[in-house]
Subunit: 315 residues, 2 copies
């Protein structure tokens, strides 16, 4: 028999520890529309205990392996952990990426770990609005830590990883100079820099480059830690986990965590409002008056801005 | 004495052939705000005679040299020509680009040529909305041809070049396979492909690659012409100019020109409406009720979507 898909019941089940209900709720969030909104409204008041860690960096930097190791470190502390792997690309082109994901299946039998890949589906505003809603599901389900790994360093991915409580930026030795990180906006969002594959040549130089770049980056907040790891062997991962907890303690003791979360809510609210208005614009631009206005503009009876005014008057 | 900056007077002067007035109007368009709107409203009813040619391609493909040669070809026909060089990057980083621009100064003493670089300034919606307004100035000023050259193949630049009546995509031999052009969205927008620096090795292979790529590109319109040039020496430029006029004739005779222009107006109207609504969203998100809503969300009394509803109610 098919299980009920009523969001309210699913949220109760998820809060009670039912992982299948968590999976269904995340699918609803991905798909968007009113059910996704309902899930958000139902989970939001029941959350508040989750601390999020964003993990970003260029493809091939070893983020998946590192995430895998971090899961081990969190689990060694006896704490549960949820993982969202954010992939803006189509699942059909993600061959190599899927390969990486498979490695995370090491934890498939551990009920204290929940891993989920997320892609854009119907959610209004795409992944940048779907991800906070997905985090709310894991938050209500009681995960004290949620890791958010992005596949690459596209604009959306950097935005999503940067919207975590603590953001890791993963680079490699010789990965390029600090200018590259600066270009991608990574210096601005990094709370902890991870030089992964640090057993390769150039790790020291990369560290110096990063230190130099951070030296002249404008940044009100504290200077990001730089940690060297070899995710493949697990080297440095304990130090990384310690750096994350240290950053968390700093965020909590200084009140910066509240400030950041308030700012994130500002951003999310603004984004929701803009998306709604864009939807409204789409409706207006398909309305009955639109074709006539277009014809008037084409015949130069009306300039485009005057025509836009007329469309906006309908609002 | 400082000349009047009243847009109405400037438009009259520009229509009368005053190039200094054209320059001032373009500056007003770049700067944005109400004066830019006024310029658009004043020039739009006085235009309609301009045919636009977009020129795009990767940096270093030789677009500036080619544009320079095209200016000569248009001038050899005794026709006036305006050129907009669209540069989304800051003018302070454009050293090499400025070097290219200097070559266009060959035409500095020819009153039948008007060349202008455009960067993003305050214009609402940036260059993608400023460029059509700038074209309207040149249109009202009586230029029968306007060339729009973009510096690179960024999203905005491809969009701008693709919004011309005829779009040239400039590639080089061995410039990369057709997949590259496909990725950047260049196959979709090209009306004429120019293989520039065609005296280099690989021109024939590039032509075959393009033909193959165009073969399986989904495209309702006619198959783009492929022209080989050596802009440095002028070789092939007459053929290119002929291909442009041929494409124009095809566009005009099939009614495709009107269709395209109507579609462009659709796009522009929608873009203006979205930008206005975004402005409105910014205002709403700075309004007095916003901080209180943010606090309610932070305290989980309200979920973000419910808070957004409250903001939108103010509209």
């Amino acid at each position: 028999m098919a299980r009920s898909r009523d969001p309210k019941q699913l949220v109760d089940e998820a809060v009670g520890g039912d992982r299948a209900a968590v999976a269904r709720l995340l699918s609803l969030v991905e798909r968007g529309g009113q059910p996704a909104r309902d899930v958000g409204a139902l989970t939001y008041p029941r959350g508040g205990g989750t601390y999020t860690v964003g993990i970003t960096g260029a493809p091939g930097a070893g983020k998946s392996t590192l995430t895998n190791r971090l899961i081990e470190a969190v689990r060694a502390d006896g704490t549960e952990v949820g993982v969202l792997a954010i992939d803006p690309s189509s699942p059909f082109t993600g061959g190599a990426i899927l390969g990486d994901r498979v490695r995370m299946q090491d934890h498939a039998l551990d009920a204290g770990v929940y891993i989920r890949s997320m892609a854009t589906r119907g959610h209004l505003g795409g992944l940048s609005l779907a991800t906070p809603q997905a985090i709310r599901v894991l938050d209500a389900a009681g995960f004290p830590w949620v890791l958010i790994e992005t596949v690459g360093v596209g604009q959306v991915e950097v935005e999503i990883a940067g919207a975590a409580d603590t953001t890791l930026v993963v680079v490699n030795p010789g990965w390029g100079d600090a200018v590259q990180a600066n270009k991608a906006g990574l210096l601005e969002i990094a709370d902890v820099f991870v030089i992964n594959k640090a057993d390769r040549q150039g790790a020291e130089q990369t560290q110096r480059d990063l230190e130099d770049a951070l030296g002249y980056a404008t940044r009100e907040r504290h200077r990001p830690a730089i940690v060297k790891t070899v995710a493949q062997s697990g080297e440095g991962v304990d130090e990384l986990w310690a750096a994350i907890r240290e950053h968390r303690a700093l965020m909590e003791s200084t009140g910066e965590l509240e400030t950041r979360r308030g700012r994130r809510i500002d951003d999310e609210l603004r984004e929701i409002v803009v998306r709604r208005l864009e939807q409204r614009a789409d409706e207006l631009c398909q309305g009955p008056g639109f074709a006539g206005l277009n014809a008037d503009v084409l015949e130069r009876k009306l300039d485009p801005y005057a025509a836009a005014d007329k469309i906006l008057e309908e609002l």
